[in-house]
Symmetry: C2
Subunit: 216 residues, 2 copies
């Protein structure tokens, strides 16, 4: 098993938060709830594309662009995106975060989304005191999985990449963190295969409680 | 209007080919046809992610990984991906390509997919003689919109970036080409808004016939 990290950096969207309630927002504005996965994949696609090409835009602006591409008017776009701030964390998250913190591991969040949104969610859930900082890609102006995004978070924590672990449900995030020299921990709540085209996770667990049990 | 290019580089998936027939392949294996857009966006997301992070994998392998993530068995994965080789071009493509070629513009294709698949499709459609080369990202081992991918295609044609135009339905491809110094031409068959987060296209047209009329 990979060495216990000094610092754990959590991805936020889907890793800490459950995005499924956004389906209802899609339906509210006349889209199908089934369009949520395509929207989220498209937002990441476009954020990564800008990063690949040397540009940058914030999650909310790209999220709006993709919705406008579905011919949604501005008010409907705002309604869908307004759902992001109201998301809850997955049931395993509070216990998992508390156990890691009690074990003396320093906790951070680093999201392609918004640090302010993350902070609001963690505060409402009573989890904000567990993390030292809520970070986002507006600092490095490069989306994960760019090396610069992980380097920014690790630099903020003041540790070497090898002393930190990135925790995510998304294989592209685990793969990118590992290529940047961090440990990668894949949280796989649904029990699906890990992509063969990406570097295998150093650690994997079905949820944050199980992950904490490995490290605490 | 932007200067007439000496060389036109066509994107392939959705720009030349109509991917809608893949919906039936999704349904054949028990998925919903509505999952096609999410699949395609996810394949691009993961291909871009690997490029951002310094890795590389071919479209077919990532396409298979995303389908396996939907719990499809190997045989079903092969059935879906087998549909790519049988795609047809959009109705406006033959005329548009011929008019550009008759106007003395040199034509190339450059795809995040497979050059061999592109070649098979263009041959079947009687269009292969119009292009000098069918290129793909296995050459530069970097997916569009990485600068290296456009530089590879431009280098193959032996022209300066500013002498070439990239033609695509995908704004991220137009944006990336423009950032790499090429002209960008956005083909917008559906009449949707162009993303505000990406550099505005130098040229846009509702289909390849209309684009050819601008340049021929």
């Amino acid at each position: 098993m990979h060495a216990r990290p000094q610092v754990v950096i959590f991805d936020v969207n889907e890793t800490l938060t459950d995005m499924e309630p956004l389906r209802a927002r899609f339906e509210d504005v006349g889209l199908s709830g089934e369009q949520l996965p395509a929207w989220f994949a498209s937002v990441l696609r476009d954020g990564f594309a800008l990063t690949v090409a040397g540009g940058f835009a914030e999650f909310g602006r790209i999220g709006a662009d993709v919705l406008k591409g579905l011919r949604l008017p501005d008010k409907a776009v705002d309604h869908v995106l307004g759902g992001l701030a109201g998301l809850r964390v997955h049931p395993d998250v509070p216990d998992g975060m508390r156990r890691l913190r009690e074990a003396g591991i320093r906790l951070f969040t680093m999201t392609n989304g918004s640090a302010a949104t993350t902070e609001g969610i963690l505060r409402r859930e009573g989890l904000l005191d567990l993390v030292e900082a809520t970070l986002d890609v507006s600092g490095p102006r490069a989306w994960k999985p760019a090396r610069a995004a992980y380097a920014y978070a690790v630099g903020w924590a003041g540790v070497l990449p090898a002393e930190a672990a990135l925790v995510a449900v998304h294989p592209w995030d685990v793969d990118g963190a590992q290529r940047a020299g961090l440990s990668g921990a894949w949280v796989d709540r649904r029990g699906v295969p890990y992509p063969e085209t990406m570097s295998a996770p150093h650690v994997s667990a079905p949820d944050l409680r199980a992950l904490a049990a490995l490290w605490a």
